[in-house]
């Protein structure tokens, strides 16, 4: 490899300032691998031209997999030969992004040997991103990864790498075991994850409560959000303690309750748990006094995605409550039905959320065999344009 340092007047400006600098990171990696210099060189050129110098991704990958690698080629390969090919590998992270020093060092060994040594910790779907290598290095990298117990994540029209919040590992509010479920689902759907067979991508994200620390409701086709059925666990002594320490329970807690189902008479806090919508606010403010109930599980919401093409969508309620121990089976059965319908009727590059909008939630529910319930809507329809079926038609 030609070792050519490039002048980077503009990028050098981004070494200044208190926040850790990605330019420094690239320069560091360049000390070991000249690819870094050409990456800086091309990036400097982009900074001058105010334009990306990457060509439209080509299809590259490892044998037998349809996803996990993003092909990338420079549009100025002559100037920057070391990044002429600059493909990305998506490596499936462990649930909750937990590591040991040893395993991190192993991953570094692999990537220093086969790639640029530049990474993203992590990609915004959650994968470990190995940023930049050549086609011939893909198989060797993959071999070393599997040898170390790692596998590739998703890309293309497949199940994308599921991710989850830290959950029971380090959070008192986890209403189900997010890390285990995330891991089990990932293992269960290895084939769907590695071999794109869907109309488009499908994302799972797991959050242990409504705080939704992996933003599942905003960016996953199936969002699994922890919740509880019984009453909030309440420790009156601890409540009093908070009050004593200056927390204004009326103002800071009760007034922010979305259903105003809390009553504070100055000494006793009373929660009307049947009116509580499990928003977490009061628990967030008084973690020592209030905790989610004991009868725990999750709400299943479906359909979130980014704006391309019909506007962004948030996931919406499909199943209000599934007990923790039934989650795995319920989800498997649900996605089976959803994927069948989607694969048959979904258009190319149509996400599940868009399909629901196109065919109508009512028809979608019929297709996957769920009953319509009011929990699925913020309000019933306000327009009278109902494709209502008369009895004969229904008979048909």
């Amino acid at each position: 490899m030609a070792d050519t340092k490039h002048e980077t007047k503009l990028l050098d400006e981004l070494e200044k300032g208190p926040w850790p600098s990605f330019v420094k990171e690239i320069k560091k990696s360049a000390e070991k691998n000249p690819v870094g210099h050409d990456l800086l060189g091309q990036l400097e050129l982009s900074y001058r031209d105010k334009i990306s110098h990457w060509k439209h991704g080509g299809i590259v990958g490892v044998m037998g997999y349809g996803g996990g690698v993003i092909g990338r080629y420079s549009d100025v390969p002559d100037q920057f030969p070391n990044v002429a090919h600059f493909h990305t590998l998506r490596v499936n992270m462990p649930s909750g992004w937990f590591y040991t020093s040893d395993v991190l060092n192993k991953l570094c060994d692999v990537w220093e040997e086969h790639g640029s040594g530049i990474t993203n910790m992590h990609g915004s779907t959650g994968d470990i991103i190995f940023l930049g290598t050549t086609t011939d290095q893909l198989e060797p990298t993959f071999a070393d990864l599997t040898a170390n117990g790692f596998d590739l994540g998703g890309s293309g029209s497949d199940v994308r790498t599921p991710s989850c919040c830290v959950g029971k590992a380090r959070c008192e509010w986890a209403c189900y075991d997010t890390m285990k479920l995330c891991n089990d689902i990932t293992q269960e759907f290895q084939d769907e994850l590695h071999r794109p067979a869907f109309p488009y991508k499908f994302k799972f994200k797991f959050s242990g409560c409504a705080n939704d620390c992996v933003a599942a409701k905003a960016r996953s086709d199936l969002s699994i959000i922890g919740t509880w059925k019984d009453d909030i666990q309440q420790d009156d002594k601890a409540v009093a303690e908070y009050a004593k320490n200056g927390l204004d329970i009326q103002k800071d807690v009760c007034n922010h309750c979305p259903t105003k189902c809390m009553d504070w008479d100055g000494s006793k806090l009373t929660i009307n748990n049947r009116e509580c919508v499990r928003c977490m606010h009061c628990i967030n403010v008084m973690p020592k006094a209030l905790r989610p109930g004991k009868e725990r599980g999750a709400t299943l919401l479906m359909g979130a995605k980014a704006p391309i093409l019909q506007g962004a969508l948030l996931s919406s309620v499909l199943v209000p409550f599934v007990p923790e121990d039934e989650l795995m089976d319920t989800i498997k059965e649900l996605v089976d039905r959803v994927w069948d319908f989607w694969c048959e009727y979904g258009k190319n590059r149509e996400r599940v959320g868009e399909l629901i909008q196109r065919v109508g939630m009512g028809n979608f529910l019929d297709a996957i065999g769920l009953d319509a319930i009011p929990e699925m809507v913020s309000a019933p329809r306000d327009n009278p344009f109902v494709f209502i079926q008369t009895d004969e038609q229904e008979a048909e």
């Binding site: 208190p18 044998m63 040991t100 991190l104 910790m121 029971k168 959070c171 905790r291 506007g311």
Partner: protein, 361 residues
């Protein structure tokens, strides 16, 4: 499943997380009782058994060299038996059983340039995307803007003095890989010119029907060049620069040095705490790309953060604050001009019109 050579290992999935859990976490898994924050970036969780696990969180640029990863690994070895994790916002968290190691660890982190903070009512790390470092679609860079903005917001990361959490995300094109659409502040790269059709190459690299079908506004029509090549043409007035045609066909070039740039969105959230999840709304339609340090974007974000910090009440996220004071007041306080572009004219236009006589006068 496709045929595989015998020795080749596939479909093993990720390693099991349990291997990487601190013994104290394994012991108290699912039995945490409460948490308490000790300082910005530092908090502990106590379990039913009384055990405590201490967390020290540090910001990272997300784009990391193996050297830095190894440096984190060394610190973890040194202070917490080699146990660490990353967060959903690209921060690194060290998991300690011995509180005496907190201060030394913080000192070492600061020494190698990684700030401790990002917890509670601070501004955490900016979720972001590839930009010019790796993506072909980008209307702007990602890492550079994040660096410039976080430099300016550094104290907001290391202090917890905001009314509530403030979450910033950046995406370098409308694909929104950063899933910025529900952020307190979203920084979004935008194109402003219709695609330039590469007539010579298009028929070679793309299926004309797919290209036509890719356009949500129906702006793309089949066409033929003088010399008889099959291609497409774009009805420019119908184009709103979404880039979807480029995603499906490289011959629809959108990048444009002068007209690409950034838009700013505010008031989104994901959590269900208090108010329900909401999308971010348009605040600033366009700011030009100004590498290397994007002063226009930095000032815009800092201004919005400062006005929010000054005016919002405790526990009010950006969008909850605006809901209380009303959008007219938001534009007045921030000095951001309101334009016709702020008024929705897409699919659900009309649902966002002010369909009420309730007005502050």
């Amino acid at each position: 499943m496709a045929e595989q050579p015998v020795k080749r290992v596939t479909d093993i999935g990720p390693p099991h997380y349990e291997k990487f859990l601190h013994p104290l976490i394994k012991k108290n898994y699912g039995n945490w009782k409460f948490h308490e924050s000790m300082a910005p970036g530092v908090f502990f969780h106590e379990s039913e058994s009384g055990d405590r696990i201490y967390t020290v969180r540090a910001g990272t640029p997300r784009l990391l060299s193996t050297q830095t990863i190894r440096a984190f690994a060394d610190l973890a070895k040194k202070y917490c038996g080699g146990y660490l994790r990353f967060t959903s916002r690209h921060n690194v968290e060290f998991l300690l059983d011995n509180p005496d190691n907190i201060e030394p660890l913080k000192a070492d982190l600061t020494k190698i340039g990684f700030p401790v903070g990002g917890t509670n009512n601070s501004i955490s790390n900016i979720v972001h995307t590839q930009g010019w470092v790796h993506c072909h679609s980008s209307a702007t860079d990602a890492s550079g803007i994040v660096k410039a903005v976080m430099d300016a917001l550094y104290d907001r990361f290391t202090h917890e003095d905001l009314p509530a959490k403030l979450r910033i995300a950046l995406a370098c094109c409308l694909n929104m890989c950063g899933a910025v659409h529900c952020s307190d502040i979203a920084i979004l790269g935008v194109h402003r010119k219709p695609p330039r059709v590469q007539h010579d190459s298009l028929h070679k690299v793309c299926e004309i029907p797919n290209v036509v079908a890719s356009c949500p506004t129906g702006a793309i029509r089949p066409a033929t060049t003088e010399d008889g090549k099959k291609t497409v043409e774009v009805v420019e007035e119908q184009c709103m620069f979404c880039g979807n045609c480029f995603s499906v066909c490289p011959a629809m070039q959108l990048n444009d040095p002068e007209n690409d740039g950034i838009s700013i969105w505010v008031g989104g959230k994901v959590s269900d705490a208090r108010s329900q999840p909401t999308f971010s709304k348009l605040a600033i339609p366009f700011i030009p790309n100004e590498p290397p340090r994007w002063p226009g974007v930095v000032n815009a974000v800092v201004n919005i953060v400062d006005v929010y910090a000054k005016n919002a009440k405790k526990y009010e996220r950006m969008g909850e604050w605006i809901a209380r004071i009303g959008w007219p007041k938001f534009f007045e306080l921030t000095g951001i001009p309101f334009t016709k572009y702020h008024i929705d004219d897409f699919r659900f236009a009309g649902t966002t019109f002010a369909r009420s006589a309730q007005i502050r006068l």
